[in-house]
Symmetry: C2
Subunit: 346 residues, 2 copies
């Protein structure tokens, strides 16, 4: 920058102003500075800038699992919002590893980012306390571990489970199975509670629950293989599962064993992952509109950054049911352009 100043024949301060507050600089100087920058190929050093200013224009997002396209959607929403505020969003994928998750929080903390969007695993949120103690702004996304002391954007998981079960019941299903998911996951438990509520409300409907250790499709296959061997009257006619992956496994296994989906058994997933529409049989699911979640989360963060009397808020978004072939049979194009756009929240 010193070189730029010299070449342009102005002072350091003027170069800085030309870069950050052009309205404070005369057109003439602006021009000279611009030319000098061009000639020297000058690139501002954001580390020096952050150091001088005390914080950066970057927002860090720590997320658990890029394999779940929900998080990609969240990131997209957050990024679009960030860009409007001339901030940029950098992602760190902890890949289901608690250590990495903590370490990325620290990295963003050390970088003095403008804020952290945190889509944590279902586990201790001590990292949040740590970085907030250092004055770092944090907004929780998709899970908040019940804390009330910082902003969060959540999805009403209980209601999502309710929606799912009610849909199956409305389709005439009476022997429901809640397939898979570790009960210690907050979201899984909530969704199950919602399903239970719908079942209670309906009367004369049963809800069986078979948990699983993970949320992968293998578990769905295992569960389907298990129940399909029962006497016909005890085979469920409606399955809802807390992940699209499990639902995919369930469907796959049922079909491989000669059952018809959705005629013999309707199957419903959760999260509206990408592949629910790319599959040969499109999968009905409950969607949490990740784009919206990301957008709102970033808004909260920006508000916290700007408004000195900011108050922490917890936003709970309502999930939405998406009916596709796996619960309703073929019914025209299951993934129209319109639908695509909705998925992306655009």
């Amino acid at each position: 920058m010193k070189d730029v100043a010299r070449l342009a024949g102005v002072s350091l301060g003027t170069v800085s102003n030309a870069l950050n507050k052009p309205e404070k600089v005369s057109e003439r100087s602006l021009q000279k500075v611009r030319i000098a920058i061009e000639q020297l190929g000058f690139v501002p050093n954001s580390a020096a800038r952050s150091l001088a200013v005390g914080s950066s224009a970057t927002v860090g997002m720590v997320l658990t699992d890029l394999d779940n396209s929900l998080f990609v959607d969240i990131a997209r929403g957050a990024e679009d919002q960030a860009r409007q505020a001339s901030h940029s969003l950098l992602l760190a994928n902890s890949d289901l590893d608690l250590n990495r998750q903590e370490s990325y929080l620290d990295i963003f903390d050390e970088a003095r980012v403008a804020g952290i969007l945190f889509a944590p695993m279902n586990a201790s949120l001590e990292g949040v306390d740590r970085v907030r103690r250092h004055g770092r702004r944090v907004v929780l996304v998709n899970y908040d571990g019940g804390r009330k002391d910082c902003c969060a954007v959540l999805s009403d998981e209980e209601y999502g489970g309710y929606l799912a079960a009610r849909h199956l019941i409305e389709m005439g299903r009476r022997r429901l199975l809640f397939a898979g998911g570790p009960e210690e996951f907050h979201a899984v438990k909530e969704r199950r509670n919602g399903a239970l509520r719908a079942v209670m409300e309906a009367g004369n409907v049963t809800l069986e629950i078979i948990p699983s250790r993970r949320l992968k499709s293998d578990e769905g296959r295992r569960i389907a293989a298990e129940v399909v061997q029962r006497p016909a009257a005890r085979v469920p006619d409606g399955v809802l599962s807390p992940s699209d992956r499990i639902a995919a496994g369930v469907i796959h296994e049922f079909m491989a064993r000669g059952l018809s989906v959705p005629d013999d058994v309707a199957v419903l997933g959760y999260d509206n992952n990408q592949f629910t529409t790319e599959a040969a049989i499109s999968i009905s699911t409950v969607t949490q509109d990740g784009y919206q979640m990301g957008l709102e989360a970033m808004k909260l963060l920006l508000d916290e950054e700007r408004d000195p009397h900011h108050e922490h808020r917890i936003l709970t978004l309502r999930p939405r049911l998406i009916v596709r072939e796996s619960t309703q049979g073929a019914s025209g194009r299951p993934h129209s352009e319109e639908e695509q756009r909705r998925r992306l929240g655009a």
Copy 2:
């Protein structure tokens, strides 16, 4: 840090050394510093560190499309390798937007990152020249626009196309269709060339080509809908497509119109995206082992960082064929644990 030094009763330099070169500091001082850090809740400021050192321990990765799980795999491989070198990997998703792609390159450039892993769109690579002129290290991943002046890790796209076509031919297919993909995409063109080579080699096999503007599943549906209306003798019996998405669309549409996959027509995708195994009919595909690509790319970057006589290398990895139901009919579990692990490269 000054406070830490004071509280610990040592000098600034000693605190710095305790943090970065503990072997140069006596056990006693180390202890004192540790306690002081603990008590003050001190967090090193990486901006200041970067400023003093002149570069950071972060590697930035700019990628085009997080919806394609290939890139997620690449990021995973890169991250694992980075961690071994005590570097961390931050991701920026340009989401198919050229402006954003350039802007993220600049952001990493301004942050003086240790290097940039760049999985660019099929477009001008001027951003690469720009940041390299500033001394930034760049490794290209998955596409290099034919340049020879920096490291790159590529996939042998031509060979991938060859593998795909040869497989279909070996399965007895004679009327092949190369379905979809914009010809101006380097990868698409190469894959098509490879397919062509396999067809030439075989004799008495035809290869029809129907391009499309994008790589989404709608295009696959459109193409399938189109060819299925022909007289039977002119309907292809083998389809290979440059993306799994298109393949999924093709399969879906064929099935909806009463064709059997793979009996009437075998369909093959490309990239081994996540959903190829989560679908009701698992999709045969060509995989580029993203994990490996990311790993190697990061290795090249680290070498460039460390070795003063580093020479730029271009690594071309061979893709691999994965046969699943869509070309071979049901054949046991198409996605075993083993297979999963291989996908993840773990």
